[in-house]
Amino acid sequence: MDLTPRPESQAPKRRRWMPIIILSLVGVGGVVIVTQFLSSAIDYYCNVDEVGVRSGCDTTNRLRVQGTVEQGSLAKLNNTTNFTLVFNGKSLDVKYSGDPGGVFQECVSVVAHGRLVNGKLESNRIEVKHSNEYEAKNKDRLEESGSAACSQVQG
């Protein structure tokens, strides 16, 4: 009986390329799903100019509306904070019950949660949406940076 090992060429070869093809297909499929089909379902907010226009931003629903707090619009009265959100040339008045606190101020981007009542957003939650800019706190540059932020975001 011949017990010498078989030559390597006769041994069955494993198809090592199959996992690579499967991984590639999964990757391509994932990219297509994410970029083509999930956008409107996963977006966190509607911009001010999309309220009542874009799918998912219906005025009858509870909304999350993103915009910049307009300079000079902020007014606090009793326990209510009123301000105007602006974005892309459109504006929306917001009435918030309470004081947003934290870093909320004019010229910052915020997301206001609430319902539209007579064309005004009655909000019970405000989230400050920080930009990807980091600037040193400096008295000389404070005013300049504030106005720059307003002009940038309002577009």
Partner: protein, 250 residues
């Protein structure tokens, strides 16, 4: 079953790990002092910007750790000699990555409370990051399933190669979708980095420091894994020998 040679070391430390350890202490000391004392407060965020020097590097190192896990897993699966060393590096890197991911989420939540006004929101970036963390906790759980060391290596390598595909999804979630989380500052697609100079330098120092911590932990952890595998192996060998002795004596 693949046999493993006895380790040539009596502890998990070497000259290399000691050098990395000392460098880590030096760089991290600088990061702490610069982050807390030298760097200015942010014009909008105020003092809470200092959380960034931990949050951003820990997120990047978590990504790096999971990419290392995938590369080591690919080497294990596709290399002709399925070296268990790659599997141990993959496992060690995933453990460290999960630790950094937890640090990322905790520091991010603290920053979110101070800036957004909320600890947590199910926005695209936070949701995908939480999903990534859960995936790698699952990966670590699979590594602890019953079976041989080779089975552990094969199963976990396949999961690692699939799980790493989530990283682009997490990173670009703020580009694909509208997110409460801000877009990337350093990896801005336009290359326009809008950050104060000392803040940027401290952030990069943090990335270097956290990378050194990562390397130091990986070196030690994969060696403790080797010792653990050898201990399990010797226990199994002893049990087989005992059963053989019993059958001979009977």
């Amino acid at each position: 079953m693949m046999s493993q040679s006895a380790p040539k070391f009596s502890s998990t430390g070497t000259q290399a790990t000691r050098i990395v350890g000392v460098l880590t202490i030096v760089v991290m000391t600088w990061v702490v002092i610069s982050g807390l004392v030298f760097t200015p407060a942010d014009v909008v965020q105020g003092e809470s910007v200092r959380i960034m020097y931990v949050h951003v590097p820990s997120a990047w190192i978590a990504y790096l750790a999971f990419i290392v896990t995938a590369i080591a897993s690919a080497f294990y699966i596709f290399a002709k000699r399925h070296s268990l060393g790659f599997d141990r590096v993959a496992g060690a890197s995933a453990e460290v990555g999960v630790m950094f991911m937890v640090i990322t989420l905790v520091t991010g939540s603290l920053w979110g409370r101070l800036t957004w006004g909320e600890f947590w929101q199910w926005d695209p970036r936070l949701t995908t990051t939480a999903f990534l963390l859960v995936t790698y906790i699952g990966y670590l759980a699979v590594r602890r399933l019953d079976g041989s060391i080779e089975q552990r290596a094969r199963r976990s390598a396949v999961i690692a190669l699939l799980a790493v595909l989530e990283i682009p999804l997490v990173h670009f979630s703020v580009v694909f979708w509208r997110s409460l989380h801000q877009r990337a500052t350093i990896l801005d697609p336009n290359g326009d980095v809008k950050m104060d100079g000392l803040m940027l330098f401290t952030l990069f120092s943090g990335v270097v420091g956290f990378t050194l911590v990562f390397v130091w932990l990986i070196l030690h952890r994969q060696r403790t894994m080797l010792l653990s595998d050898l201990a399990n192996q010797s226990g199994l060998d002893a049990a087989i020998l005992a059963r053989q002795n019993e059958s001979v004596s009977n």
